[in-house]
């Protein structure tokens, strides 16, 4: 068996066109999920809102307990009906079927990834001793100031490696966007491969692309970690 190198080269550059799509989904998802995940983690890690915590726990269990592809199918099929129904009820003139598939991708990935991040952040917050909260309260810091100035800066050291794993996971997860008819890296490879029947070549191509993307993310996180630790003594 021999590989079709010409096809490999051409497909590689074609697949690169999917990289902005994957990064676009990743970036928007992060922008939504990071703040939301933090809020959920904070709600779930202190005992002030028992019922809300339970409810959020169910949401997290759902996202952890169902395959990503199933979540995509559900939202991709259910969402248009829901939006259509509400728009009709509220007399809003809105063309549901003209909505970009990217919007569905943002919604699906954000919903899922927020749940993952909430748990990652909760484990990060758990590394900070409760005495830090008490000391902050005693010297007169508000809850917000306490998290902003004392807790989160300390949690971040423990949290960066987990966050890095999650972000690389998210980039790989975007490969499922093809099931929402979005032309990302994997979708392009699949189409090209079926046209020329060169599956192995196409998949080797995108393996390289994903590995390089994730290595870049790792590198970025290494730099952040270095910076965070540089101005702080090791705890």
């Amino acid at each position: 068996m021999s590989l079709d190198y010409e096809f490999m080269k051409n497909t590689f550059f074609l697949c690169l066109k999917g990289v902005p799509v994957a990064l676009n989904i990743t970036a928007v998802t992060l922008l939504i999920s990071v703040p939301l995940g933090f809020v959920i983690a904070i709600i779930r890690s202190n005992k002030k809102h028992p019922y809300l915590s339970k409810l959020l726990g169910i949401y997290i269990s759902y996202n952890r307990g169902t395959p990503m592809i199933v979540q995509i199918y559900i939202i991709y099929n259910l969402m248009p009906y829901l939006i259509f129904y509400f728009c009709k009820r509220l007399n809003i003139d809105f063309d549901v079927y003209g909505m970009s598939n990217m919007v569905y991708a943002y919604i699906t990935f954000s919903l899922c990834f927020t749940a993952f991040l909430a748990e990652a952040f909760r484990s990060g917050l758990g590394t900070v001793h409760k005495g830090q909260y008490e000391a902050a309260a005693v010297v007169g810091l508000s809850d917000y100031q306490c998290y902003r100035r004392i807790i989160i800066p300390q949690a971040i050291t423990a949290l960066l490696p987990i966050l890095c794993t999650n972000v690389t996971g998210l980039i790989k997860m975007t490969s499922l966007a093809f099931s929402m008819a979005i032309f990302d890296i994997t979708a392009i490879a699949k189409v090209e491969a079926s046209a020329d029947l060169c599956f192995i070549e196409a998949y080797l191509d995108i393996t390289v692309i994903y590995v390089v993307l994730c290595l870049l993310v790792e590198l970025i996180f290494k730099l952040i970690e270095y910076r965070v630790k540089a101005h702080r003594a090791v705890i």
Binding site: H129, G131, Q132, E134, A135, A136, A137, V138, V139, G140, L141, Q145, R149, I150, P153, Q154, R232, A233, V234, I235
Partner: protein
């Protein structure tokens, strides 16, 4: 004269376990009150209730003529109490991500909104008083336990509180580091700082306190000036406790 800080009938239970069963406490300006008692007697819980780190089930607190229900205190009232009191923790609880100086000034700049320059000046003076001015740029992890606790004390009195609450400030320290912390506390006491100290350091109680309370089983069993309590305790439980503790303290030089 009215007491500066007065708590009345404090009750606190954790689940079914009653820790405080009606404690009264009066603190006048300049008092150094030492609370003694076996572990589990509620000393620490009492201090934590005064600062609202624990919410008491019953009781009132009056501070500077303002009376507050300890069970139903509002956020504003808690802030008021915390502004006028400071707390020194058994395990120091310095902010790990802040230097010694920042630990002292954090509450001043963020909590009390003092200008940074003024806060830094107060902070440096506070650190000088505990003998750590040259360590102002060190992080807690670079300081010994005794030094950390001295920073903790500096952080407490830099806020210029009416009263400082000490929760077993030397119990987590190596024996050889206890002395430096007690020395700082003695210095503060001599300067007229009002203090409530939960401790097992009998020599400190004997030499510095002007009032000693003995707690057991969630109530104050006996209180008085140190000589009364140490030399002529009236209650059997106090005598038992002192017999167990005093011979021990003879070994500690």
């Amino acid at each position: 004269m009215d007491a500066m800080l007065e708590v009345k009938q404090v009750h606190k239970a954790f689940g079914k376990h009653e820790i405080l069963k009606g404690v009264d406490l009066n603190v006048d300006k300049g008092d150094v009150i030492v609370i003694l008692g076996p572990s589990g007697s509620g000393k620490t819980t009492l201090l934590r209730c005064i600062n609202f780190l624990e919410r008491a089930d019953k009781g009132t607190l009056s501070l500077d003529n303002m009376e507050i229900s300890m069970k139903h205190a509002k956020k504003k009232e808690i802030t008021y109490v915390r502004k006028k009191t400071s707390f020194v923790f058994q395990s120091y609880y310095l902010f790990h991500n802040k230097t010694a100086l920042q630990n002292v000034t954090e509450g001043l700049i963020i909590g009390r909104r003092l200008p940074k320059r003024q806060a830094n000046e107060i902070g440096m003076n506070a650190l000088e008083k505990v003998g750590l001015k040259d360590r102002h740029a060190y992080y807690p992890s670079q300081l010994s336990g005794g030094q950390q606790q001295r920073v903790g004390i500096a952080r407490a009195f830099a806020a210029n509180p009416d009263v400082i609450l000490f929760d077993e400030p030397t119990s987590a320290l190596d024996p050889e580091l206890v002395g430096e912390v007690l020395a700082v506390m003695k210095k503060l006491a001599r300067e007229g700082t009002t203090m409530i100290v939960v401790t097992h350091e009998m020599s400190f109680a004997q030499s510095v306190a002007n009032k000693v309370l003995f707690m057991d089983g969630g109530v104050i069993v006996e209180s008085g000036v140190p000589d009364e309590i140490f030399v002529r305790p009236k209650e059997e439980r106090t005598k038992q406790f002192l017999r167990r503790i005093i011979p021990d303290s003879d070994y500690v030089i």
